[in-house]
Every structure is written in C-alpha cells, then in structure tokens.
C-alpha cells in the first residue's frame, strides 16, 4: 500500500514535470498548431509509441491550443479621452503644488517622441554646408553612409537616400529612401526623436529599427524597443519588436514577423529577405543601385528568395542573389540582365 502511494506521487511528479516540459517546448507547440512538418511527424510518432502518455499529451495540447478570445475593443479615441482626463488631474495637482512642469506647454500636442538612456557622442560634419541651418546627408546609388547625428543617434543610410534636419532640432529628421536607426535617448532633457517620411512620422524611444520610404509607401520594421507611429490622418499606432508596419496612402498593414511573412529588412550592410519574389528583390536593388532589371526568362520573376544578401557593393550583392536562387545576372551599363 505504501509503495503504491509512493509510486503514485512519483508518477504525479513526473507527469507534472513532463507537462511543464511539453508546454515549454516549441516543437510540441508546432505539432499542436500544425506549423512544422518535421515536428508534426515527430510528435505523432511519439504519441503512437507512448500510449501511456496520452492523457498528459492531450491535456498539454488543450493548454497550448487554449481558448481564443476576441481582441480588446476599446477605441483609441476613447482611451485618449480617458488619458486626457487623468492628465488634467495631474496638471491640476502639479499646479496646486506650485511646481512648474518643464514641459507643460508640450503636453497639449502629444505627438512627441521619447528618448531612453543615453550617452553623448562627438559631432560629425554635415555632407553639405551649414547654410540656412539645415544639415543634409545624401547617398548616391550603391553608396552607404554611416552617420552619428549631432545627438548621438546612429544612422546607416542606404543607397539613393537622403536624410536631413534643422540644426536647432537635431532630433527631428526627414528621410527619403532607406535607413537603419539606433536611437540614443537623453533623459535629462526628455528630448524626442522623430523620423518623418512623406507618409508617416515615427516617434521613437530607445530603439533600433529600419525605415524604408520609397514610391509613396513607407515600411517600418522594429528590431528593439518601442516606437509609436503617427499617421497622416492623425492615428497612432504602437509597435513592438518583431513587427512590420507598411503604410501607403491611408492603407496600413501591421504584421508580426513570422516565417511565412514576406518582408525585407536592411541592417548591418545586409539585406534580409523573407519569402520575397525575385522581381521584388530586384526592385529593391534598383532603388538602391539605380539599375533596373530585365528578365530574359519571365519565370524567374517568381523565384522566391529567403535569406541574407550582403550589400557592401553591387557585385557582392548580385553574386549572393545569383547563388541564392540560381539565376545569372549580367551587369550592363544601365541595366541588369537576368537569366
């Protein structure tokens, strides 16, 4: 009798441990959600070979699958109103305490970017002159430029792109083209960092992200941190790492990066493509290097590219593409021929 109790307790313990292991196992999750053929096969086989574990596995499967709820339904306007109510009370209190908030006037327009922990770096000199207080950096086709802005933010500018700012507002930059930002924040002055493109404003704090603004469409892909996007229509959209927002003429998509999503990211002199048809990849190349592509074989347009393509120069870039999808690319004076 004693032995039975002991073995029951042992069994319960191992079952508990096993359940926990299952719940933390991503391959198990893939089996439940049918995400990955290999994992599906593995666990189906495991189940067949371990019928004594059936209960635990089925329970774990239920937990992973879970109960699906609809998303929260409060409107942004509603939440904004509630925030303003709280803000009013805060201001009232602060006024009563007789403390003047340094940023009281700025509170009215909350389209302000934020900075996080920071360090201060040396100034780099502007590409153009300092006339009329504007600083501009511009890259030609195929060029990349590593910059440290006056405030310490790192920017890598990709080919055929331009970034500019006013000297007296160094943390408000205009971008056309493509760049990768590593923003440093300055808590002592609560300085905000903005990236403005034709379509949207990116409100930043403590982040690393990629912005691509071309052909009247802007893509923002967030690596680290939190950013807030202010759209043309005044709407706000918050992003967390691993998300991609694409905005063009009032049409917005907001997605989480996963293996099936088609996206492109440029970072560390490398293009990272996922599920991107070759035709679109070559469009990226055209934007950056100024060379349009001519497909001798129209079927090649739909070849899919996934992976990192080094972008240090045109040759390296094209070699990588050729190896990756198995095409031949010939460089001519004003175009690329693809076979």
């Amino acid at each position: 009798m004693f032995l039975n109790i002991v073995s029951y307790i042992k069994m319960k313990e191992t079952n508990d441990q096993f359940l926990e292991k299952l719940l933390n196992d991503s391959s198990f999750e893939n089996w439940v959600l049918k995400n990955n053929k290999n994992d599906i096969v593995f666990w189906s086989t495991y189940l067949k070979n371990n019928p004594d574990k059936l209960e635990v596995i089925f329970t774990a499967r239920s937990i992973v699958g879970g109960i699906l709820f609809k998303k929260n339904s409060l409107s942004d306007v509603f939440v904004d109103e509630k925030f303003n109510a709280v803000l009013e009370k805060i201001q009232l209190q602060e006024r009563q305490k007789g403390i003047k908030l340094a940023h009281q006037s700025k509170i009215k327009t909350l389209k302000i970017a934020i900075a996080s922990i920071a360090a201060i770096f040396l100034l780099l000199f502007a590409f153009n002159g300092f006339d009329d207080g504007q600083v501009t950096y511009k890259t030609g086709f195929g060029e990349t430029l590593n910059l440290k802005l006056a405030d310490g933010t790192s920017v890598v500018l990709n080919g055929n792109s331009e970034i500019s700012y006013q000297k007296n507002t160094p943390r408000e930059v205009k971008l056309s083209g493509e760049a990768y930002f590593i923003v440093k924040s300055i808590p002592s002055t609560h300085a905000k960092f903005w990236v403005l493109t034709d379509d949207i404003k990116v409100e930043v704090y403590g982040t690393q992200f990629n912005v691509r603004s071309r052909d009247q469409k802007t893509d923002v892909l967030l690596d680290e941190g939190v950013i807030n996007l202010v759209l043309e229509n005044g709407e706000n959209k918050q992003m967390i790492p691993g998300e991609l927002v694409s905005y063009s003429k009032e049409h917005l998509t907001h997605k989480k990066i996963d293996k099936s999503l088609k996206y492109a990211q440029w970072k560390n002199s490398t293009y990272i493509f996922n599920n991107m048809p070759l035709e679109e990849v070559m469009k990226y190349i055209e934007d950056t290097y100024g060379l349009p592509s001519q497909f001798e074989n129209p079927e090649a347009k739909s070849l899919v590219l996934s992976g990192g393509i080094p972008n240090e120069n045109l040759n390296i870039c094209l070699t990588a593409i050729q190896k990756s999808v198995g095409v031949q690319i010939q460089i001519q004076e004003d175009k690329l021929i693809i076979n």
Binding site: L23, I67, L68, D80, L110
Partner: protein, 192 residues
C-alpha cells in the same frame, strides 16, 4: 549598453516623463479595463478605479520601487486596487484578506472567437461550459488567453504558485474536454 526597453520605459516613467506615461496608459488601459470589468461587471466602477489607479501611479511613481516586468506589475497592483474599491462598495465580502477569493467571472459568447480545439461546439455552448469552471480556473484562463500573461505572471497576479497555475490549467481543460465529449454523445443520442 543593452538596457531592456521595459526597464528604460519604467526608468523614464519614474522621472515623470509624461510621454512615457501616455504610452503606458494607452498600452495597458484596454487590457486592464477588460480585466476590471470582468471582475466587477460594473463599467463605471472599473473606469473610476482605473482613473484613480493611474493617477496614483503617477503621483507615487518615485516610491514604487524597481519593476522588472511592467505588465504583471500593473496587473497585480490594479487587481489590488479593484478589490479594494469593491470592498468599499460592499459588493464583496472577504472572509479573509487573501487573494484566494477571486471574483466570479462570467464569460460571454461575444468575447470568444473561432476555437482550435472546441470548434465543433457553438460559442454560446463554450461560454456556458467555461462558466461552470471554478472561479480560480476561470481567472487563470482569462489571464492566460485574454490578457496574454505567461504562467509566471499569472502566479504573481493571483498570488499562487507557478505549479498551482499549471495544475489549475490542467484541471480546467480536462474538465472541458470531458464535458464536451459527454455532451456531444448525449446530443447525438437526443437526436435519435
């Protein structure tokens, strides 16, 4: 030099940065609103409590201490605040002050969407089944699948052990599966 964005947020918030505060507010208000309403079934009370809660956070930000996980911190503190408010309104009588007493959640068909496992039964039927679970089981399910808290966070919010959360999840789903299977069979038999 890699400070987690969460810690950065909190640090700035403590400094009194209103923009960070705005982000926190707008980011968590909908989740907490939903949670508060689930517990109290009273919108006015929930919104009242939320306003006081965020005000309190801002006013006392310097005395809040280190926060490693903003989401669970906000949930834990808000839950405390909501129960306090409920007590004041005498809608809830505690036998003792422990968090053991969970409010009686009610799930409705409207808040559910297409299910993976229980997709053959109607949403209204699923809601009914969920409501038959214990208060603790309901709250764990809510926090895990609606508020998207992980096991560790749920343990913190409900003031129970990590293992307890797992056990509760297990019990709940075993119950659900058994009931569904029985009811289905029963329904089939009824049709005959």
């Amino acid at each position: 030099m890699n400070i987690s964005p969460e810690k950065a947020t909190w640090f700035l918030f403590i400094q009194g940065d209103l923009n960070v505060f705005s982000s926190l507010f707008k980011g968590y208000y909908p989740l907490l609103h939903n949670y508060g309403y689930k517990i109290t079934a009273d919108i006015a009370l929930t919104e009242d409590c939320l306003q006081d809660f965020f005000l309190y956070l801002y006013e006392h930000r310097k005395n809040l201490g280190e926060v490693d996980h903003v989401k669970s911190y906000l949930f834990v503190s808000f839950r405390r605040a909501i129960f306090k408010k409920l007590k004041e309104k005498r809608k809830f009588i505690f036998i003792d002050d422990s968090y053991e007493a969970s409010a009686d959640f009610e799930f409705s068909a409207e808040e559910l969407t297409i299910q993976k496992e229980f997709n053959l039964i109607q949403k209204s039927a699923l809601a009914l089944l969920l409501n038959q679970l214990s208060a603790r089981e309901k709250e764990v399910i809510y926090l895990k699948y609606q508020s998207a808290l992980n096991t560790k966070e749920i343990a913190a919010v409900m003031n129970i052990s990590y293992q307890s959360v797992l056990n509760t999840l297990q019990k709940a789903f075993v119950k659900l599966r058994n009931t569904v299977e029985n009811d289905t069979i029963r329904a089939i038999l009824k049709e005959l």
